[in-house]
């Protein structure tokens, strides 16, 4: 098993990894396994993020975790120049995008391409990078093709 663990690619983000909780564990385990997992309501079928023990859309309280493609469209974005946190220091300037996922929820995600190549409406895909041996983080990148 250990031999198949992908190499750590972005160790600088370890200080920003949140603690695992009963609510968020499945999300982070999904990223560690190389996939984006979202909660889906068993009653109305809506996907949601961030995780909760109830559905944001209907009275449902039964939610299951599902792997999703996690592709979407840039709704808005910024280019951060200010050094707010050392983890992002070597990436300055970097893009933060508000991504409208095809599955429904919106998420925020960093993108490390040339800022001039990013525009509102562009298609993006998840980019999962390993931060420690057993944790990974979600970023976004332009959808190829």
């Amino acid at each position: 098993m250990a031999a198949r663990t992908p190499a750590v690619t972005m160790p600088e983000f370890e200080p920003l990894l949140p603690e695992l909780t009963d609510l968020n564990r499945a999300y982070w385990e999904g990223l560690a396994a190389g996939e984006v997992r979202l909660q889906r309501c068993r009653r109305c079928g809506a996907y949601q993020y961030p995780p909760e023990s109830f559905c944001y859309h209907c009275p449902g309280t039964e939610l299951a975790w599902e792997a999703v493609r996690g592709h979407g469209e840039v709704y808005s974005f910024i280019v951060v120049h200010q050094r707010y946190h050392p983890a992002f220091g070597e990436h300055l300037p970097y893009v933060v995008a508000t991504v409208q996922l095809d599955e429904g929820p919106r998420m925020l995600g960093a993108m490390f391409e040339q800022p001039a190549s990013i525009s509102i409406g562009m298609r993006v895909r998840p980019r999962i990078e390993r931060v420690t041996e057993d944790r990974a983080a979600l970023f976004f990148a332009p959808e190829e093709g």
Binding site: F13, L16, L17, P18, N24, P50, Y75, S76, F77, I78, V79, V80, H81, Q82, Y84, H85, F88, H91, P93, Y94, V96, T98, P105, R106, M107, L108, G109, A110, P115, I120, A137, L138, F139
Partner: protein
């Protein structure tokens, strides 16, 4: 909806006060509140013992529990009505609504409302705090979130950097006539364009500073107001409207709570945008006044940028905005100072930046990432 004129009596702001804005080492959060309230009492010719209510917005930088009772204690007031409202930057208008409700219910008659904080010399961690699980997205600090809104407004309506710059330049021009302002040196479009990027599309000069300071006002009945030494300023209209959801999950990012809040405030005053002589608009970032004026109906949606071009929003123009310099240039305090300036304008105390014939003024406040919004319309009493 009830018009404020239809309540059992009319309500007024009778005293305003503020501490020095900017950097004040050794002045605690408590001191900023106490000194600002004492200033407001002195302004109206009142004593702390005249107060039967103390209401506050919590300091942004630390958010202590039971804050208003501590301010009351420091003033040696045992209040009949007290409390701290959490609408972030909209709280100090929200508290006026609470004060009027308390007086209308017969629970109090003379209520001080304050805000004071020392994020510049104390802790300012809350201003650049990572957003929980979103920290890995690289989103830190309020400028980043507001920049996301600005980008969307630029995309949808063609708003330009120069139009954002006009807001910064106009408010700085007003601050140059305000001895209380933290930034009194006029700026040019070149200064604006060459100020460093913080989070594109925001330059440094798109962002308000982090400031120490306190401001306060006293609300009472028209009957009590008339016996005091300052000219009463009448509270004509109040409104609230709250997008509430976290900014990136809102359906439309280039809008705000100003639409609902403004409609409610205008209806409760029985007035419309054409009757407003000047505005004090919450301007934590340059994009906010553009969106706020659009949503209030001073111009069509998307035309806020064009509205700010030329001299329309300057003192002497058709609708002077942020006559003290606002958050961008007077001080970064979250909104209390805008009410203080509106009252001083309506009392004709503003010297070179005085709006000639000012009889009706509008104040907007908002909090979070355009999460909350409150609107107040004030007058000299003739409206």
């Amino acid at each position: 909806m009830v018009r404020l004129k239809d309540l059992s009596q009319r309500y007024c702001i009778v005293g305003v006060g503020n501490t020095a804005y900017g950097m004040n080492p050794g002045v605690s959060q408590l001191a900023h509140n106490v000194l600002a309230i004492r200033g407001a009492l002195e302004d109206a010719g009142l004593e702390a013992s005249d107060l039967d209510g103390v209401l506050t917005k919590a300091p942004t930088s630390t958010f202590p529990m039971l804050w208003a009772p501590r301010v009351a204690e420091a003033l040696r007031v045992v209040p009949r009505v007290t409390g701290t409202l959490d609408q972030a930057g909209a709280s100090n208008i929200g508290l006026i609504q609470y004060a009027i409700s308390a007086i209308e219910l017969g629970q109090a008659e003379m209520i001080a409302i304050s805000y004071g904080d020392n994020p510049r010399t104390g802790t300012r961690a809350s201003y650049a705090r990572p957003r929980g699980d979103d920290a890995l997205a690289g989103l830190f600090g309020a400028p980043s979130s507001y920049a996301m809104i600005a980008r969307r407004h630029m995309h949808e309506y063609g708003t330009t950097h120069e139009q954002l710059g006009n807001v910064a330049i106009t408010h700085r021009h007003h601050a140059s006539m305000n001895p209380n302002a933290q930034y009194q040196d006029s700026i040019t479009m070149e200064d604006y364009a060459h100020s460093r990027w913080v989070a594109e599309p925001f330059h440094l000069l798109d962002c308000c500073p982090v400031s120490d300071g306190g401001a306060a006002y006293v609300v009472t009945t028209e009957a009590r107001a008339r016996s005091l030494r300052t000219a009463p300023v009448y509270i004509e209209g109040l409104g609230q409207g709250h997008p509430a959801w976290d900014f990136y999950r809102r359906g439309e990012l280039a809008t705000s709570g100003a639409k609902v809040s403004g409609e409610v405030a205008f209806r409760s005053a029985g007035l419309g945008p054409t009757e407003i002589d000047f505005c004090e608009i919450y301007d934590c970032f340059t994009i906010v006044p553009l969106i706020t004026l659009e949503e209030y109906g001073f111009c069509a949606k998307g035309e806020g940028g064009a509205f700010y071009e030329g001299s329309r929003t300057q003192v002497g123009g058709e609708l002077p905005c942020n006559t003290s310099g606002g958050l961008l240039s007077e001080t970064g305090m979250p909104g209390t100072q805008l009410v203080v300036e509106a009252v001083r304008q309506l009392r004709g105390e503003c010297g070179p930046r005085q709006v000639a014939g000012a009889e009706v003024g509008l104040v907007s406040q908002q909090g979070g990432i355009m999460t909350t919004h409150a609107t107040m319309i004030l007058s000299t009493g003739g409206a």
